[in-house]
Amino acid sequence: MAASAVRGAVALRTSVGRPVAFVRKIPWTAASSELREHFAQFGHVRKCIVPFDKDTGFHRGMGWIQFSSEEELQNALQQENHVIDGVKCLILFFS
């Protein structure tokens, strides 16, 4: 949890000014390809990161999506519910 927060901060440093969404509460059954698949409906996903904990083999329920443009990001943000594998995910912030 803590380590990923740090990694997240590092990811953020480089993502300032880029259209990035931070997704939380991702179900354990979904990994980056599922996330990418879901968000592809809003635009071109340039990067999708769902960090896994190598000590457990599970991810920590959060990930980052980088779109190609601000507009695509806005598309994604405008949708109220993002349901992946039947679970409602939260888009927490973007930068």
Partner: protein, 1314 residues
């Protein structure tokens, strides 16, 4: 039976007798009493059989204890109390939410309690009480074991047990149906010298009754009788159970009648005991009858009680009756925790079917279909190894009932977490059958399980399983989860091939490559790339390569690989072309490294770039610019010039013109030199140009060639150039040459800093420290940026792990006073160990800093790391220290921020909700600033969210910070949401908040939904108040600048301005200002500053220099008394006043004839003469002068003669200079004295052959124009003419004096030939 009850009845009848304990009288009061009255404090043993317990009661008691403890004033108890609060809070929360305590939580609280030193009695009680029915997930025997473990461990740690602990243990035994001997238990208590009380007896009775031992129970009852102890409902309830378990239902039922006869109306507990007894017999009819009877009475059974009847039925093997009881459940508010507790208990008892039945009966809202219920049940089923077929069935049931949307997925997750491969595989197949995809990463937790035990066979099995299920392992699977299980990657390929699970695609090769890269095995990568025939694009390799480069420091391999990629067509077929591909690669490489990493690897990167240059690798200019910006941001501008050499230069014109100019200058220089003309200017220009060209080699050659023509400026530029090029050797040599040229010349601050940096980096610590000393001696202006540079020097060394450098330079900087100890400047001391992951030492160093400087550098980072690593011991230690040194509140804030930072929001929430915690604006602002500067939006949002209820919290300020971060990110939607939230919270925003919000909205072309307040002065003032720091430091900087440039008026005005704004600077600043004002003779102003400083800074004192200047000024103004006081103060502070100051004061006293003061000064400076540089002659001359002034000429002369003629001379005659005395006497026209002195001098010469006085007199006569007197003296005493050395000194001095040299030196009365 009757015999048994007789004593009780007797006892109870006696209840009417006055003087009996209050509870007894209450009991005797008759029927119809509310239940509460029967519940004696801490005495309710609850239902006799080990079953569910009223949790609320347990914690109510614990809470009472807590309050009692809090009232104790001693602080040593405070920590224990807070530890207790924490533990109570954790456990209580868990019970309130889920009706239970997970084992891990109890273990954690237990461990924490142990680490807290000697756990208090209340903590022990809390832990023990948690080991019963609150642990439904544990088997009964395990719970008791846990209780025993806690009991023994705490006892070892010194916890003193009282009767409450024994009673608590008994309760746990009852709840866990633990078989034990009550007599042994009593014996144990006796051994420990603990008196059993009524509760003890009651519980022992219950223990006998639980096994149906009525005889045993009556023995205890008899004993209670002899002790006159009251018999309560609890005892009767126990007896009901006792008779029932002994098979005597009739007598069990009879107990109720006996109770009534005894005047105790059976309450719910008694009926519950009876109901349980019937349920255990499977007697549904009697259960129903009894329930009806209860319903008719005014008694009321709670859901919790009914749940217990269900449990009794199920456990006794009568699940068929469960549904009948379930119908009676009303599902009152807060029933869920109790239901959960029962369900889990049933699973633990392997009664899963009943558990499911109860679960499905729970009236859960199923509308939105997104809130799953029942996960706890599935998880526990997995833990208890419920057969997979049953589990699949349960999942289907839950799904059908719309209680859980993803029951199978969840169960699979539990199976994976519990590392049960067979169950997991079966569940995956079930999922597949349902049409849900089975994904690669589902297998990772299983692989992790085998990887931890290095079980190769297990891993192979999983890979085979994946294959069977049609899932292909990807690169990540191999690299992260398969390879680590093997000793080497090479062996993996062989083993997989052997087992037939080597995939045909190149996924495996890529995985191998990545894995070797991660291990920094660049040899492998190079040979792979050389021999590889598969198509690989540069981009697909980039990630692995960067990882590999960062993990290997073999620069030769870095270069070789880069060259291969640059030159080999296989890898650079992209449209980019090699220049750009490699350029991007370099950019990405540096970008992927943190600033500290780049700083630490600076040298390696430099080598790398130079090798690439030699290999003729080029990068485009635009990418170079990107890299340059990165390096600038990382604080390693020194590397820029090394990247610059790689730039592909199409237009070399600009360089050409430059070279032309250089050669022009060179030839001009040659010409001038040949013509023997001054070359200084041209030489300097050329050197500066070479420096800007970064051509160090040539610049140094030039310097060597024209060494004799070099001036200070050229040296300064060269020194700086060498520092930039990391050439410590030459930089140091140049600095020495520079000093030889002009030892008083001062470099500018940046160049000094550059020297310190380069010398420190090359281990020339002593030289670096010498530079620091010089900075201090030459009073180099220390700006904020300088302090920051010091920090970067120390930090760089810390990141490189250079312990000595960091420690010694830090020590020098701080002790010299170049920078005050601060959390910033001292943080590298801690960084050293944080980088090495040596957390214990890091903490140790931080604590040490606090001891030395009262600061705690990087405590936040230390804590974060400790939390990440779960180092509870060290966290405890850190917290104890902070609590003790800075208070509990600071500790809580530290912990709060650390939890926030590490994303442990729940824990953070608990901390900030600690009762009694209040807002600390500066701490909160500090964390806000931190979040903003590192753009941690989520963390900041959490901070704002969690502090909503914080006492005295400035909500507006926090939201203002939130807006700031949203502004940076251009997020107007969230900013707008803040506006709404503030209304919701009823916050009145300040003007600045509204203005900021308006600005964000306007920037995004949004309408501003409110009136934007104008900028009022008031607001301005407020913002000043809230952030006085920048203001203060700006003014202080200005003031110091003005001092540096000797602008006394400006400096004084800044002081006045600051005074008006109530800004207080540090003591040194005031000292500088006072010094400046004194040298400019602004005495009054100086005194004003001094007064202000003394009244505003506690313990402010003038420093040595300022004190000396003050003395001089006071003497000049004839404030001798004050000057004497100043001197005394300075000496008391162990300062060393300047020689001039002391001498001036002595002289002034002498001219006043103030002999006493001179002698007082002599006493004061006794022993310091050498440090001040004060000659004894100063006293001899001036004492004599004072005596002469007082008309004691004879005494003065006698003293001097004695000194020169007595056997124990204090001073060699040739150094016995009396010139000052002679001159003053002549100047002041003290004729009789002149005459007598003249006689003395001649006598000394003629009779004692001491010629120094007479020669001095002769010279002074000459000097004051009394040539005739001088000639007469010379005639009388011809030996004067032979005193050549004295003449020589005199001539030199006079010539100097004529040459406008300050007169102080020759005036000081030490006119001796030194």
């Amino acid at each position: 039976m009757a015999a048994l009850l007789r004593p009780a009845r007797w006892l109870l009848r006696a209840g009417a007798v006055p003087g009996l304990p209050l509870p007894l009288r209450l009991l005797a009061g008759g029927p119809g009493r509310p239940r509460v009255a029967l519940c004696l404090p801490a005495a309710c043993p609850g239902p006799a059989a080990g079953g569910l317990l009223s949790q609320a009661r347990l914690y109510a008691i614990a809470a009472e204890k807590k309050n009692y403890l809090q009232e104790e004033p001693t602080s040593s108890h405070r920590r224990n109390a807070s530890q207790f609060d924490w533990a109570l809070m954790r456990l209580d929360n868990s019970v309130r939410r889920t009706g239970r305590i997970p084992k891990t939580l109890l273990q954690k609280v237990f461990d924490n309690t142990c680490h807290s030193g000697s756990p208090g009695g209340n903590q022990a009680l809390l832990l023990l009480r948690s080991c019963g029915s609150l642990l439904p997930e544990l088997k009964l025997s395990e719970r008791t074991e846990f209780a025993h473990r806690i009991w023994d461990k705490l006892q070892k740690l010194g916890t003193v047990y009282d009767v409450s602990h024994y009673n608590a243990l008994l309760k746990v035994y009852l709840q866990n149906e633990y078989k034990f001997s009550p007599t042994d238990f009593l014996a144990k208590m006796e051994e420990a010298n603990i008196q059993p009380n009524r509760v003890t007896y009651q519980r022992l009775i219950a223990a006998y009754c639980n096994v149906g031992d009525i005889e045993g129970a009556s023995k205890i009852l008899g004993f209670m009788k002899t002790k006159d102890l009251p018999v309560t409902e609890a005892v009767f309830s126990a007896l009901v159970t006792g008779h029932a378990r002994a098979g005597d239902m009739e007598n069990a039922e009879n107990i109720l009648t006996v109770m009534k006869e005894a005047g105790i109306e059976p309450g719910p507990d008694t009926y519950l005991a009876l109901l349980n007894a019937y349920a255990e017999k499977g007697d549904i009819d009697h259960v129903k009858q009894t329930l009806e009877k209860v319903e008719k009475s005014d008694l009321y059974l709670m859901d919790r009680d009914l749940f217990q009847i269900i449990f009794s039925f199920s456990k006794a093997g009568y699940p068929q009756y469960v549904s009948e009881i379930l119908e009676k459940i009303t599902y009152e508010r807060r029933y869920i925790p109790d239901a959960m507790n029962l369900i889990l208990l049933l699973v633990t008892e392997k009664l899963e079917d009943t558990a499911l039945q109860i679960l499905l009966a729970c009236p859960i809202s199923r509308e939105d279909g997104l809130n799953d219920f029942g996960s706890f049940f599935l998880r526990h089923c997995v833990t208890m190894d419920t057969p997979v077929e049953k589990l699949k069935h349960y999942c289907k049931k839950l799904k059908d009932a719309q209680m859980h949307t993803s029951a199978l997925q969840f169960t699979l997750q539990c199976a994976l977490l519990a590392n049960k491969p067979d169950l997991a595989k079966a569940l995956m197949n079930a999922l597949k059958e349902e049409g849900f995809p089975v994904r690669t990463h589902y297998f990772w937790p299983l692989l992790v399980g085998y990887q931890k035990e290095k079980n190769v066979q297990g891993v192979i099995e999983i890979l085979k399983g994946m294959h069977e299920m049609g899932v292909n392992p990807d690169q990540e699977t191999y690299v992260n989860y398969v390879f680590p299980c093997f000793d080497s990657v090479k062996s993996v390929r062989a083993v997989l091939q052997e087992n037939g699970c080597l995939p045909e695609s190149n996924v495996f090769s890529q995985a191998e490559l990545k894995s070797e890269a991660v291990n920094g095995n660049l040899d492998y990568i190079l040979s792979f790339l050389e021999s590889n025939t598969l198509p690989f694009s540069f981009t697909s390799l980039r990630g692995s390569l960067i990882l590999g480069f960062r993990r290997s420091m073999n620069i030769n391999l870095w270069s070789k690989i880069t060259e291969l990629l640059y030159k080999d067509g296989r890898y650079c077929q992209e449209p980019l072309g090699p220049t750009e591909a490699v350029g991007y690669f370099l950019y990405n490489l540096i970008d992927s490294m943190s600033d500290s990493e780049v700083q630490a690897k600076e040298e390696h990167l430099r080598q790398y770039f130079h090798q690439l240059k030699e290999m003729n690798v080029k990068i485009p200019e635009n990418i170079y610019r990107g890299i340059r910006n990165l390096l600038d941001n990382y604080h390693v501008p020194e590397l820029i010039k090394d990247v610059n050499i790689l730039v592909e230069r199409e237009k070399i014109d600009s360089r050409k013109t430059m070279q032309l100019t250089i050669s022009d200058l060179e030839s001009t220089l040659e010409k001038l030199k040949a013509e023997n003309q001054p070359v200084g200017d041209v030489l300097k220009q050329l050197i500066l140009m070479l420096c800007s060209e970064e051509n160090m080699q040539k610049a140094l050659e030039l310097k060597a060639k024209y060494e004799s023509d070099m001036a200070v400026g050229g040296y300064a530029a060269l020194i700086n150039l060498c520092c930039r090029h990391d050439n410590a050797e030459d930089a140091l040599n140049l600095k020495q040459e520079f000093d030889r040229l002009d030892s008083s010349a001062v470099l500018d601050t940046n160049k000094y800093v550059g020297l310190v940096k380069v010398l420190g980096k090359h281990g020339k610590l002593q030289d670096a420290i010498n530079i620091l000393k010089e900075m201090k001696e030459k009073d180099v202006l220390i700006k904020d940026a300088t302090v920051l540079s010091f920090f970067h020097i120390l930090n760089g060394a810390a990141l490189r792990g250079e312990t000595e450098t960091v420690q010694q330079l830090h020590e020098a900087i701080v002790t010299l006073g170049l920078a005050k100890p601060s959390t910033t400047i001292s943080s590298p001391l801690v960084t050293l160990y944080l980088e090495k992951d040596d957390l214990p030492t890091a903490l140790e160093v931080a604590i040490d800093c606090h001891k030395k400087y009262k600061i705690l550098p990087r405590i936040h980072d230390v804590l974060c790391k400790l939390i990440e690593k779960g180092e509870t011991d060290l966290i405890q230690k850190a917290m104890d220290f902070v609590s003790q040194e800075q208070g509990e509140m600071t500790m809580l804030y530290d912990l709060f921020f650390a939890f926030l930072q590490t994303g442990n929001y729940k824990e953070a929430k608990k901390i900030i909700e600690t009762p009694g915690i209040r807002a600390r604006p500066t701490r909160l602002q500090w964390f806000c600033d931190r979040c903003i500067s590192s753009n941690q939006v989520e963390t900041l949002e959490k901070l704002v969210e969690l502090t909503q209820k914080l006492f005295e919290c400035d909500r507006d300020q926090l939201y203002y910070n939130l807006l700031k971060i949203y502004k940076i990110n251009g997020d107007w939607q969230r900013a707008d949401a803040v506006w709404n939230k503030m209304q919701e919270e009823n916050i009145i925003p300040r003007g600045k908040t509204l203005r900021l919000l308006a600005e964000i909205l306007r920037n995004s072309n949004q309408e501003v939904p409110f009136d934007v307040p104008e900028l009022w002065d008031e607001d301005e003032k407020h913002s000043l108040d809230s952030s006085p720091l920048p203001e203060e430091s700006n003014l202080q900087k200005d003031l110091l600048n003005a001092c540096q440039w000797k602008k006394n008026k400006d400096a004084y005005n800044i002081f006045l301005k600051a005074q008006n704004r109530n800004v207080v600077f540090n003591g040194e600043t005031y000292n500088s200002l006072i010094k400046l004002l004194l040298t400019k003779d602004n005495f009054t102003q100086a005194m004003q500053v001094k007064d202000f400083a003394e009244t505003h800074i506690k313990g402010f004192t003038l420093n040595d220099a300022a004190s000396s200047l003050l003395i001089i000024t006071q003497v000049r103004r004839d404030y001798l008394k004050e000057a004497l006081t100043t001197l005394k103060t300075a000496l008391d502070l162990e300062q060393i006043p300047s020689r001039i100051a002391v001498t001036r004061l002595i002289q002034a006293c002498a001219l006043k004839g103030d002999l006493e003061s001179i002698q007082a000064i002599q006493k004061m400076v006794n022993g310091l003469e050498d440090s001040i540089g004060l000659s004894n002659m100063v006293f001899i001359n001036n004492i004599a002068l004072a005596q002469i002034k007082n008309n004691n000429i004879d005494v003065a002369i006698e003293n001097i003669e004695n000194m020169l003629t007595s056997g124990n001379q204090t001073m060699e005659p040739q150094y016995f200079g009396l010139a000052y005395l002679f001159r003053k006497v002549i100047e002041e026209q003290l004729e009789p004295a002149v005459e007598k002195i003249s006689i003395m001098a001649e006598r000394l010469a003629n009779q004692f052959a001491v010629y120094k006085p007479v020669t001095d007199l002769f010279l002074q006569l000459v000097d004051s124009g009394k040539v005739d007197d001088a000639r007469a003296l010379l005639q009388r005493c011809g030996a004067i003419a032979e005193q050549t050395p004295i003449f020589l000194v005199f001539c030199i001095r006079s010539s100097r004096r004529r040459g406008k040299v300050p007169t102080a030196f020759s005036e000081d009365g030490t006119g001796s030939a030194q």
